[in-house]
């Protein structure tokens, strides 16, 4: 995974300046992090319009406010677990700018009055993060102690309640959502879980203010985001851009299309397939007509010669294998969805299904059956991706039912 230079017009903030990850270069550029109280921080975040960069896009100020309003001494967790296979931006950020993340963690922890903070990261990030924390200790930068917790490499291990469970020493699987973690999370304490990229943006907002933050992105979706651009592009890697960036510019920032593209998976394995239209705005508003959103900034380019249904079936199979094993409808439903999609992808009739019940209707039936019936959004996110494929690749669905494949014929 490389960090590539960005084109003019594609903003660069988190990845600006030196990316050697050293504390002295960080302090030379940014100086020590400011201290804010809870009211100041909530105001800043609300004015800036910062939203979570882990995928859900929830307004950050609301979570901070919820934790401030809950009873008990809060706990703060930076989430860099990045269980999504198509994403590399959190690991890149931890390698290149760990001190922006750690500044953000301290600013939040100080503002909410936490006495303990955690950094929950992929195994690949742990050594670097521990070294960075050691340097900061020497410089007296971290008034709130930070413990590093290594996340298991599982898709659902980064889900908020799974993060809380992992930090508390339990298995990193999601919990039932009757009580929010902002009310009772780690050890029953109000817990604020924020993606590491969100914390890095926060560290810059605390220094440069909300007006500066809003100079990038759109009025409704301000700021920049890290995108992991992969698939059929020249230089797969992590790029930074403002929300609303043209899809074509984002792909060009990663070396441009390696082949003619037919579609793009935006937002990752829980995201949505959209047609490869260069003019498409990568923002919630721009992607909403396709049932997609930028999510955690994942963009996977699919060339015309690769079958979108085969790729979708492969991803569905992966997602079925990543169920936490707790919730019956998900445990049973996702493998059934994956099998049905695999049959469709390989143009096989399905034993046990009458001819009149085609794969399309079976996919829709199973999608409705699993949606909303789990402790986390794994079934819902999987269904979102699958249904977007049925729409975006509708010509190929019809072709497959007739025993042909559009992608095969395009080769």
């Amino acid at each position: 995974m490389t960090v590539v230079d960005v084109l003019p017009g594609v903003g660069r903030r988190l990845l600006a300046g030196s990316t050697d990850g050293r504390l002295d270069t960080h302090l030379a550029r940014y100086a020590r992090p400011p201290r804010l109280d809870g009211v100041q921080l909530v105001g800043l975040l609300r004015d800036a319009g910062l939203t979570g960069r882990g995928g859900a896009g929830f307004p950050t100020w609301r979570k901070v406010e919820a934790v401030l309003g809950a009873s008990g001494v809060p706990v703060v967790v930076g989430n860099g677990s990045e269980g999504e296979p198509a994403s590399g931006k959190d690991r890149a950020l931890m390698a290149y700018q760990p001190h922006l993340v750690l500044d953000g963690l301290q600013i939040v922890a100080g503002a909410v009055g936490a006495r303990q903070a955690y950094l929950y990261v992929a195994a690949a990030s742990a050594v670097g993060v521990r070294a960075a924390l050691g340097d900061r200790r020497g410089a007296g930068l971290d008034p709130v102690p930070v413990s590093v917790v290594v996340a298991p490499e599982r898709f659902v291990a980064g889900e908020e309640s799974a993060v809380v469970n992992a930090v508390a020493g339990r298995a990193a699987v999601p919990s039932d959502k009757r009580v929010r973690v902002t009310e009772a999370g780690v050890g029953g304490a109000p817990t604020l879980v924020q993606n590491v990229e969100t914390l890095a943006h926060l560290a810059l907002i605390a220094r440069f203010g909300p007006h500066w933050f809003r100079e990038a992105g759109t009025a409704e979706e301000p700021g920049t985001f890290l995108a992991t651009v992969g698939g059929a592009v020249g230089v797969p890697g992590v790029v930074e851009a403002g929300y609303g960036v043209r899809l074509g510019d984002l792909v060009d920032a990663a070396g441009g299309p390696a082949e003619r593209l037919q579609a793009v998976l935006v937002g990752g394995y829980h995201g949505g397939w959209v047609p490869a239209l260069p003019e498409l705005a990568v923002s919630r508003a721009g992607l909403a007509p396709y049932g997609a959103s930028p999510g955690a900034g994942i963009v996977v380019a699919l060339p015309v010669g690769v079958c979108g249904l085969v790729e979708t079936a492969r991803i569905a199979g992966y997602l079925a294998g990543e169920v936490a094993g707790q919730c019956g409808p998900c445990v049973n439903g996702l493998p059934r969805l994956a099998t049905t999609l695999t049959d469709l992808a390989h143009r096989r009739g399905r034993a046990g299904l009458g001819r009149e019940v085609d794969a399309v209707r079976e996919v829709e039936r199973l999608s409705l059956l699993v949606s909303g019936r789990g402790a986390c959004r794994h079934p819902d996110g999987s269904v979102r991706m699958i249904r977007s494929a049925m729409r975006t690749f509708d010509a190929d669905v019809a072709a497959h039912l007739a025993g042909r494949c559009v992608a095969e014929e395009a080769r």
Binding site: D176, R178, C327, G328, P329, N332, G333, G372, R373
Partner: protein, 71 residues
């Protein structure tokens, strides 16, 4: 506000099927034996007339997976 919605803790439910029997007006079993709201809701509403049955289903769930919650 009375507790008039049915919440299923999917991490606890193992599909014994008692709730679908005791509350057949609201729940059916899906093809794997897990409770499925007839109206498709994630947390189906419990009409006043069925509150007693719903409480019984909550109390008798062997996995303690069922709760009545506020909407």
């Amino acid at each position: 506000m009375s507790e008039n919605r049915l919440h299923i803790d999917w991490t606890a439910c193992d599909g014994r099927g008692l709730c679908a029997e005791l509350l057949s007006e609201i729940l059916v079993e899906d093809e794997w034996g897990y409770p499925l709201a007839r109206d498709g809701a994630v947390e189906p509403a419990v009409p006043r007339a069925l509150q007693k049955n719903a409480k019984r289903a909550v109390d008798r769930c062997p996995a303690l997976a069922l709760r009545l919650v506020n909407s």
